[in-house]
Amino acid sequence: MTATSPLETLAPPERLLWTVLRRLETLGLEQYEQFVPALATPAKRSLVERLRNEVPTDEALTGQELEEPVRDLCAAALSDSALATLCVQGLTLERLGQAIYSRLLTSPGAGPLSRHLAELGGAAAGQTIALALSELQQRSSTENLLAGYCDATEPVLACFDALGEAGDRALGPHFGLRFIDVLTDVATELIGNCVQLGMNRRKLVCHLTAAFMGA
């Protein structure tokens, strides 16, 4: 697979999915560059560049049901500090991406190009998450990570439901994916990571539950 694979090798649902992921990965990279440059890794830069080549425009997304939820999520994910960026992008949205990439690797609806991109995305996410955990670990003695995490991620998690509903309708049948399964992966990994960082598990689970319930 080369960096110049033709766009036509992606089926329409794949183009839609990769357009969404390109938007999210690009936003993540921009946030890292602004607030936590160490997380703007070569692998992440390379991934974003590759996605910009494969799906250079928002054409596949424009006018689709997913457009608004994606726009809302991107707006909610605009952080204003290093800590918020680490929590929102470095932990939460990287986990979301990683969960999607992981499931794409075995999805019957993912063609060779999608699987290749998913491999790149998964590897880049893994590196970034490890770095984010390391950065957050260093802050754990001086900052209230649980409070910071809850404050920063509340508006982002609140966007997941609409994203999932639209995503299931637009992409679920093609890829054989359900957003609640992706979300289960994300929550499971997040809980493990946050406990590792010393956050109170009960409070974190309640935060996630409240966000997912829309409470």
Partner: protein, 246 residues
């Protein structure tokens, strides 16, 4: 434990439906818990004395709660409770008919008790709105924790060096058990909100509490979390979208 005679606060000031339904679930749920421990005693004669004691304690909770309701002019909503508990009763009957005490232990000792603890504990913060309920809920909470501790030890010994067997048991019991009891938790979330608790926090506490119990018996943390979260996710989604939960 006697419940002091006091006049209920704000008797005319609020819709009593939420508290009637919550207390209905508490009263009739405790009565069902007494029955389940009684069934377990039949299946495990070697543990019958303590299981009958647990049954008696659960029955006592029901009596305390009913008396506390009387003092606050709350009529426990039996119809609602029956509707919620029917599905659980069917599961319990199936497990008993199969002679499966371990399944009953997971359903009652872990899932149902996790729900009770997740609600009784925060309820103490608002209990004074309903005079006479603080002491009985505090005592019931303490005793439910005792039951859970005993059940945890029982299951750890039963599945010592047999974690895979325990995982299979949980996988078998959890799908129905969480769908039923977790579903009830979702259905009462708004009622909990309306009496000053957080339904979401209660649900989160139940999920975390149950995951923790599975870990204590030997299921790896991530696996326990994934299993419990994965079973709650569809319920949470239904709650969020106002769909029929069960």
């Amino acid at each position: 434990m006697s419940v002091p005679e006091m006049h209920p606060a704000s008797l005319d000031l609020e819709d009593r439906l939420p508290i009637r339904r919550l207390m209905g679930l508490a009263v009739f749920g405790e009565m069902l818990a007494a029955r389940i421990y009684g069934l377990m005693a039949q299946l495990k004669p070697e543990h019958a004395p303590i299981l009958r004691k647990f049954a008696s304690m659960e029955g006592q909770h029901a009596t305390w709660f009913r008396e506390a309701c009387r003092c606050n002019a709350i009529e426990p909503d039996k119809e609602f409770a029956d509707h919620e508990l029917d599905y659980l009763i069917a599961q319990v009957n199936d497990h008993f008919a199969a002679g499966d005490c371990e399944a009953l232990a997971v359903v009652q000792g872990f899932i149902v008790e996790s729900m009770a603890i997740a609600i009784y504990e925060p309820y103490l913060q608002v209990a004074d709105r309903y005079p006479g309920t603080r002491d009985v809920f505090a005592r019931a909470l303490e005793e439910e924790r005792y039951h859970v501790d005993w059940m945890t030890r029982y299951l750890r010994l039963r599945f010592f060096d047999a974690e895979d067997e325990f995982i299979r048991l949980c996988q078998r019991v959890n799908v129905q058990g969480i769908d039923c009891i977790g579903g009830t938790m979702m259905k009462i979330a708004d009622y909990l909100d309306s009496i000053g608790l957080s339904g979401a926090d209660c649900a989160g506490s139940m999920m975390d509490g149950y995951s923790e119990l599975l870990e204590r018996v030997g299921i790896p943390s991530k696996e326990a979390t994934r299993n419990v979260v994965g079973l709650f996710m569809p319920l949470i989604r239904k709650y969020r979208h106002g769909e029929t939960i069960k």
